[in-house]
C-alpha cells in the first residue's frame, strides 16, 4: 500500500465513511491491510471492524496478532463473533486457536458453543455491541507526542576505553492520554531509558525532543516516583512535598495550599507534620506520589514504584492510582511506568513496550485496548500476560548453547544467567511434578516469582539442556528429568556433565586448570577475558555465577583469600561424597 492510498483511507475513516474505506481495503493485500489497520487508533479499528462483512473480517483477523484478534473478536456480539470464526478457512482457524493460551481458548470455545443460547460470560468488558457503539470515546484531538526519542542509544566507556552499548538505537514517542508501561528483565536498561526520556541523563547518541524542541535547553515539566521513595528523612511529609514547589519559586502560602491538596488527593490528610520514618512503606510511596503530583507534571515517570511494597499494599496503591487517573484527578497528561511485573503492566497500561537486553532494544510495542478496571482472571487479561511471557522468553532462544563446531568468538560471548543450581533444581522438580510441561505464566504464579527472578533460572535450565522453551511453554528434557529425580551426588555429576558440555566459560576454566602444573589459576585472568565483552558490573556477575556453578559441579575449589581457583582433586571428591551421601 502506498502513501497516497494510506492517506486516502485515513481521510475516509475520519469522515466515518466505512463503506468506501472497506472497498479500498479489500483491494489491498491482507497483510498490508492488517498493518494499516493496526496503525489506527483502537476505536476506529473497532468501528471499521464492526462495519465489515464477515468474510472480510475473518481474512483480516488472521493477519493480526492473536491477542489483538481475540480482543477485537470479543467486541462483537456473540452471534457475529461466531460467524466470523466460522468464516475463517479451517487452516486459518486452527492456526488462530492454537496460538491462544489455554484459558482463552477454553473461554472462546464455550462462548462459541453457547452463542445461540445466552450472553457470553467471559469478561472482556466491551462485549456488548449495543454498549460498544455508545461507548465511543470522542476522537482524540491532541495526539501530538509530548516526547519523541530519535535513535537514542546509550553506551558506557570501560576504563580501558572500550565502549559497551547498553541501549541500542531506539525510536519511540510518548503521546498524551496514555499510560505506557516499559517492561524488561532486570539489567535491560529500563531505568536508564527512563532517565534519558525524563531529561536526567543524556543519551550517548540521538536526540530527545520535548514538544518538538530538543530536551537539552528546555525545562521539561516532569516528575519521577522512585522505587526507593527517595524521601528526605529530615523533612516532614509536608516539607517533602513542598520542596519541589519551593524550587519553582512558589511563595509560602501558595506552596502550602498546593502541597496540602496533593497530600489530600493521595489520602494523606492529617500526616503533614509526620516524618517519613514514622510511616509505613505504602504511606511513604503515597508521599512520593504527592510530591510528584504537586508540581502538576506533564508526564509522570515511575521507576518500579510498587516493587518495594508488599503485595497487598502494592495492589491497593495501584488501584488508587488508576482511580485517580481514570477520574482525571491526576494533573498529568501521561504516565510512563517502568516495571518488571508483567501483570502490573497489563493491569495499568494502555500501551506496553517490552525491552530485550544486551543491548536493550524494543522487542514488542503494542496497545492494550482492554477497558478499565481490568479483571486479572479474565481470558483477555491472561492472553496479554501469556503473550508477554512469550516475547520475553524469545530472546533467550537466540542464546542457544554453542556447539563445538561453532565459531570460537561466538562461544565466548555466551552470557551466563545469574541463577543458582538450587533454583534450577527446584524448577525442574516442579516441572517434573507437573508432567514435564507447563506454561511460564503458571509457573510464575505457582512459585510466586516475578519474571525477573524466574527468567534467569529458566535460561540456565535451557542453557544446560535440562529444559526447552517454546512459545511461553516450558518442557523438561530427558536429562532434566534425570536431574530432577537424582540424589545429591548424582545431581552433581549430571550438573558437571551439562556444564562442561554447554558452558564455554567453565570449559575454559577447566582446561586452563588442567594444563597448569599446579592446577591453580588466578580468577583475575578470567575476569580480564570477560572484560572485553561485558561491562564491569556484568563481569562480576558472570564470575560469581561461574564460580557458583563450578563449585557445585565440583570442577574446582575457590580460595576467596587469594582469589584463585584450584582444580578439584579426585581424592578430595572421595572425601566429600560420603558426607553428601549421608546428607541425602
Amino acid at each position: 500500500m502506498n502513501n497516497q492510498e494510506t492517506q486516502k483511507l485515513r481521510n475516509l475513516l475520519k469522515q466515518r465513511q466505512w463503506g468506501p474505506a472497506i472497498e479500498l481495503l479489500r483491494k489491498t493485500d491482507p497483510s498490508s491491510a492488517a498493518d494499516f489497520f493496526l496503525s489506527e487508533p483502537y476505536d476506529e479499528q473497532r468501528a471499521l471492524f464492526h462495519a465489515m462483512p464477515m468474510d472480510m473480517a475473518a481474512s483480516l483477523i488472521v493477519h493480526l496478532p492473536y491477542y489483538h484478534a481475540y480482543v477485537l473478536l470479543h467486541s462483537l456480539p456473540s452471534q457475529e463473533m461466531r460467524a466470523v470464526v466460522e468464516a475463517m478457512t479451517p487452516g486459518e482457524r486452527n492456526h488462530f486457536l492454537d496460538a491462544l493460551p489455554e484459558e482463552a481458548w477454553q473461554c472462546l470455545m464455550d462462548e462459541l458453543a453457547e452463542a445461540g443460547t445466552g450472553a457470553p460470560y467471559c469478561a472482556v468488558t466491551d462485549t456488548d455491541a449495543g454498549a460498544a457503539t455508545t461507548e465511543f470515546a470522542p476522537p482524540v484531538v491532541d495526539t501530538e507526542p509530548i516526547i519523541q526519542a530519535r535513535q537514542i542509544e546509550k553506551s558506557y566507556q570501560q576504563p580501558d576505553g572500550r565502549q559497551i552499548q547498553v541501549i541500542a538505537p531506539v525510536d519511540f514517542s510518548v503521546e498524551p492520554n496514555t499510560i505506557i508501561a516499559l517492561l524488561g528483565p532486570s539489567g535491560s536498561g529500563k531505568s536508564t531509558l527512563l532517565r534519558i526520556l525524563s531529561g536526567l541523563a543524556a543519551p550517548s547518541a540521538g536526540e530527545v525532543l520535548w514538544h518538538g524542541q530538543p530536551m537539552h535547553g528546555c525545562r521539561p515539566n516532569v516528575a519521577i516516583v522512585f522505587q526507593s521513595f527517595a524521601l528526605f528523612p529530615w523533612l516532614t511529609v509536608l516539607e517533602n512535598v513542598e520542596a519541589p514547589l519551593l524550587a519553582r519559586g512558589i511563595t509560602h502560602f501558595e506552596r502550602h495550599r498546593k502541597a496540602l491538596r496533593a497530600l489530600a488527593s493521595v489520602g494523606l490528610h492529617g500526616f503533614e507534620s509526620a516524618y517519613p520514618k514514622e510511616l509505613s512503606g505504602g504511606m511513604k510511596q503515597r508521599v512520593g506520589f504527592a510530591r510528584a503530583l504537586a508540581v502538576e507534571p506533564e508526564i509522570l515517570f515511575m521507576d518500579e514504584p510498587f516493587s518495594a511494597l508488599d503485595v497487598l499494599t502494592a495492589e491497593n496503591l495501584r488501584g488508587e492510582l488508576l482511580e485517580l487517573w481514570l477520574a482525571k484527578k491526576v494533573p498529568t497528561k501521561s504516565i510512563f511506568i517502568v516495571t518488571h511485573n508483567i501483570e502490573e503492566a497489563v493491569l495499568l497500561a494502555d500501551r506496553i513496550i517490552v525491552l530485550g537486553r544486551n543491548p536493550a532494544k524494543i522487542r514488542a510495542d503494542f496497545r492494550v485496548p482492554l477497558q478499565h478496571p481490568r479483571d486479572r482472571k479474565s481470558a483477555a487479561f491472561v492472553l496479554y500476560v501469556d503473550y508477554i511471557y512469550k516475547v520475553m522468553t524469545q530472546p533467550q532462544l537466540e542464546l542457544a548453547p554453542p556447539s563445538k563446531t561453532e565459531h570460537k568468538e561466538k562461544a565466548a560471548a555466551q552470557m551466563l544467567p545469574h541463577s543458582r543450581p538450587g533454583g534450577i533444581g527446584g524448577l525442574l522438580e516442579l516441572l517434573d511434578d507437573r508432567g514435564g510441561e507447563e506454561d511460564m505464566y503458571h509457573i510464575a504464579e505457582e512459585l510466586l516469582l516475578e519474571i525477573d527472578d524466574l527468567l534467569p533460572i529458566l535460561d540456565a535450565a535451557t542453557l544446560l539442556g535440562f529444559a526447552t522453551v517454546h512459545e511461553g511453554d516450558v518442557r523438561i528434557t530427558e536429562k532434566g528429568r534425570a536431574f530432577a529425580q537424582a540424589d545429591i551426588p548424582t545431581r552433581k555429576i549430571l550438573f558437571r556433565e551439562a556444564v562442561l558440555a554447554h558452558v564455554s566459560l567453565l570449559q575454559q576454566i577447566q582446561s586452563a586448570l588442567e594444563k597448569k602444573t599446579n592446577h591453580t589459576m588466578p580468577v583475575e585472568f578470567f575476569r580480564d577475558l570477560l572484560d572485553e565483552r561485558f561491562a564491569q558490573v556484568e563481569v562480576e556477575h558472570q564470575i560469581e555465577t561461574a564460580l557458583n556453578w563450578g563449585r557445585y559441579a565440583e570442577l574446582f575449589t575457590y580460595d576467596a583469600e587469594d582469589d584463585t581457583v584450584h582444580l578439584h582433586q579426585p581424592d578430595h571428591r572421595g572425601d566429600n561424597s560420603p558426607e553428601s551421601a549421608s546428607l541425602h
Binding site: F226, A230, F232, P233, L246, A247, K277
Partner: protein, 583 residues
C-alpha cells in the same frame, strides 16, 4: 506554619521533663542569661584584642584569675571551630564537586592531616604577627589559627565523604525538580552530612583542648609569646611547679569540658538524631534535657518566626529564581575559565618555587641533625607501637566485658566518656610530678601520656563492637558448649575486628600527633625531653631551627601517611570483607 507550632507543642507533651506549669519567663531565663553572657564575653575579648602589644604578659596563678582565662580559652577554641567549619564547608564542597580539583585536594588533605600542629606554628605566627604588628590581635589570630590546624582536617574529610555518599536517587530528586544551589545545600547536602560533622566536631574540639597548652604559650626564636588562657595558666603553673594552681586549673578545665558536653554536644547530638538516614525509627534515640528546654521555650520560636524563617524563605526563593534564570540562558564562562587557569598557573609556579627553596634549605642539614631526626623517628615509632599494644592489651578484654553485659555498659559507658573528654595534657603535670618523685623519667611519662590520650578510641570501639555481636551467634557458642578460648578465638575477637581496626586507626593518628607534647615538657623551670621525633619538632620550634623543623615534619607526615597506606588501609580492607557481620 501550623505544622511548626503543632510540632513544638507536641514536643512539650511527649518530652515533658520540664513541668508545663512553670511560667514561660522562668523557662526562658537560662536562655536569656546565656545570650547576655556570650555578648559580654565577645565584648571583653575584642577589647583585649585591640590592645597594643606589650611585654610578655604576666600569667597570674591565683584561682580568681581562672574564670577570665577560661573564658578566653573557650572563646578561642570556639573561634577556631567556626573557622574550621567554614573551611570544611568550602573545601569539602569544592573537592566533592570539582572532579579536577578533587584529584589533588584529597591527597593534600590526607597529607595536611598527618602534619603535627606545632609544625605549623612558626609559619602561622610569623604571618599573623606580621599582619598586625602593633595589636595583640596578631598573636591571638595566630593562636586561633594554630588550634584551627589541629581541628579542621577530620571535619573536612567527614564532610567530603558524606557529600560523596549521598544516594543517587536523592540527587535525582534534586535534579528533576531543579533545586537551586541553595536548596540543595540546605535541604540535602548539609542535613545528610550533619551527623558525621557533629561527631567529628566533638573530636576536633577535644583535640583543641589537648593542644591548648601548646597553642597558648610558646617561644618563637627569641620571642616569648603567651596569651591569657587556661592553657597558659596550666603551663605556667607547671613551669614554676605550683601544684595547687595545677589542681585548680585542671578542675576548671574538666568542669568546662563537662559543662560544654552537657550544654552543647548532648543537645546537638539529640537534635541531629532527626537527620539520621534511616527509614525506620530507632528505639533508643539519644535525649538531652537542655534540648528539651530549648524546644519548650516560647521565646525561641517567636524569635525564629521573626528572623530565621523570613530569611530562609527569602533566600530560598531568591536562589530558586536565580537558578531558573541561569538555566534558561547559560552565560558564557570564557573569562572565568581563563581567570581560573591563570590563578592555577600562578599557584603552580609558587609551589614550584617553594619546593625548590625547601629542598635547598634541607641540603643545609648537618649530619648530627639528620641523625637525631631519624633516631627520633625510630624511637617515636616504637613508642607509638608500644602504646597501641598496651592500650589494646587492657581495652580489648575490658571493652568486650562491658559490651557483653548491658547493665555494666549502662554504668561504664558514661564514666568512660567523661574520662575520655579530659585532655591528657592537663593531667600531664601531675603524672610527671608523681613519676619524678618515684624516680621515673619522661621515657615512661610520654608513653603514659600517649596512652591516656589514645586508649579511649580503642575502648569505645571495642564496646560498640561487642554490643553489635549478634545474639544468635552467642547462642551458637552456648549451644555447642564452646570453651573460653574457643569462644574468644571463633566469635569475640573476629566479631570486634572491624571496630577494633577503626579504633586503632584513630588512636594511631592521635598518638603520632600527641608525641609532640608528650616527648618534650617544661616543668619547674626545667625542660624534660626524651628521644623522639616529637621532641625534635618541639625543640626546633622553640629554638627557631627551621630546617630541622621542616625535615622532621616531612618525615613525620611521610611516616604517618605510609603507615596508613601500608598497614591500616589493608587491615581495613580485610575488616570490611572477611570480618564483616552481615545480617
Amino acid at each position: 506554619m501550623a505544622s511548626e507550632t503543632q510540632k513544638t507543642s507536641s514536643g512539650t507533651m511527649t518530652w515533658g521533663t520540664i513541668p508545663p506549669n512553670v511560667p514561660s519567663l522562668l523557662r526562658d531565663l537560662p536562655i536569656l542569661l546565656a545570650a547576655l553572657a556570650l555578648f559580654y564575653a565577645i565584648l571583653s575579648m575584642t577589647h583585649y584584642w585591640l590592645s597594643p602589644v606589650g611585654p610578655p604578659m604576666e600569667i597570674h596563678l591565683e584561682p580568681s584569675a581562672l574564670p577570665r582565662y577560661a573564658m578566653f580559652s573557650v572563646l578561642r577554641i570556639a573561634a577556631a571551630y567556626v573557622v574550621s567549619l567554614a573551611f570544611t564547608l568550602v573545601y569539602g564542597y569544592v573537592a566533592a564537586y570539582n572532579t579536577r580539583a578533587e584529584k589533588f585536594m584529597v591527597p593534600l588533605l590526607d597529607t595536611l592531616q598527618s602534619i603535627p600542629v606545632l609544625s605549623f606554628l612558626p609559619a602561622v605566627m610569623v604571618a599573623m604577627v606580621g599582619l598586625f604588628p602593633t595589636k595583640q590581635l596578631g598573636v591571638e589570630l595566630g593562636s586561633i589559627l594554630l588550634i584551627f590546624t589541629g581541628q579542621v582536617w577530620n571535619m573536612t574529610f567527614s564532610f567530603y565523604s558524606s557529600l560523596k555518599s549521598i544516594p543517587p536517587e536523592m540527587r535525582e530528586v534534586a535534579e528533576i525538580y531543579r533545586w537551586s544551589w541553595w536548596q540543595r545545600f540546605t535541604q540535602m547536602e548539609l542535613p545528610y552530612s550533619i551527623i558525621g560533622l557533629v561527631w567529628n566536631s566533638m573530636m576536633s574540639v577535644a583535640g583543641g583542648w589537648f593542644f591548648l597548652m601548646a597553642c597558648e604559650m610558646f617561644t618563637l626564636g627569641d620571642r616569648d609569646l603567651r596569651l591569657p588562657g587556661l592553657g597558659s595558666y596550666l603551663q605556667t603553673a607547671a613551669n614554676v611547679g605550683n601544684t595547687r594552681a595545677i589542681w585548680w586549673g585542671m578542675a576548671v578545665m574538666i568542669g568546662i569540658i563537662v559543662v560544654i558536653d552537657q550544654l552543647v554536644w548532648r543537645p546537638v547530638i539529640a537534635w541531629a538524631e532527626k537527620f539520621k538516614f534511616e527509614q525506620v525509627e530507632s528505639t533508643d534515640a539519644p535525649t538531652s534535657p537542655v534540648l528539651d528546654l530549648l524546644r519548650s521555650s516560647r521565646i525561641l520560636p517567636y524569635f525564629s518566626r521573626l528572623t530565621v524563617r523570613p530569611a530562609r524563605e527569602f533566600l530560598s526563593l531568591h536562589f530558586a529564581q536565580r537558578h531558573a534564570a541561569v538555566g534558561a540562558g547559560r552565560v558564557s564562562r570564557g573569562i572565568y575559565h581563563w581567570l581560573t587557569r591563570l590563578m592555577l598557573a600562578a599557584l603552580l609556579a609558587g609551589i614550584c618555587y617553594e619546593s625548590v627553596k625547601m629542598v635547598m634549605l634541607l641540603t643545609h642539614l648537618t649530619r648530627d641533625e639528620l641523625r637525631s631526626i631519624f633516631l627520633g623517628a625510630g624511637a617515636t615509632f616504637l613508642r607509638v607501637a608500644f602504646t597501641l599494644f598496651l592500650a589494646g592489651l587492657w581495652t580489648i578484654p575490658v571493652g568486650i566485658l562491658i559490651g557483653l553485659k548491658p547493665k555494666l555498659s549502662a554504668i561504664a559507658q558514661p564514666i568512660a566518656q567523661v574520662a575520655a573528654s579530659v585532655p591528657a595534657t592537663a593531667l600531664f603535670p601531675i603524672i610527671l610530678l608523681v613519676l619524678i618523685r618515684a624516680g621515673g623519667g619522661l621515657g615512661i611519662g610520654s608513653i603514659m601520656l600517649l596512652l591516656l590520650g589514645t586508649q579511649w578510641y580503642i575502648l569505645f570501639n571495642v564496646i560498640a563492637g561487642a554490643i553489635a555481636i549478634p545474639t544468635d551467634l552467642k547462642e551458637v557458642c552456648s549451644v555447642f558448649r564452646f570453651g573460653r578460648t574457643e569462644r574468644w578465638r571463633e566469635l569475640l575477637l573476629p566479631g570486634i575486628f572491624p571496630f577494633l581496626i577503626t579504633g586503632f586507626v584513630t588512636a594511631s593518628g592521635g598518638a603520632w600527633n600527641a608525641s609532640i607534647v608528650a616527648e618534650y615538657f617544661k616543668f619547674r623551670g626545667h625542660t624534660y625531653l626524651t628521644t623522639g621525633l616529637g621532641a625534635v619538632i618541639s625543640n626546633a620550634t622553640d629554638t627557631g631551627n627551621t630546617r630541622v623543623l621542616l625535615a622532621a615534619t616531612i618525615l613525620m607526615a611521610a611516616m604517618v601517611v605510609t603507615i596508613n597506606r601500608l598497614v591500616w588501609r589493608r587491615l581495613y580492607q580485610l575488616a570490611s570483607t572477611r570480618f564483616r557481620l552481615e545480617n
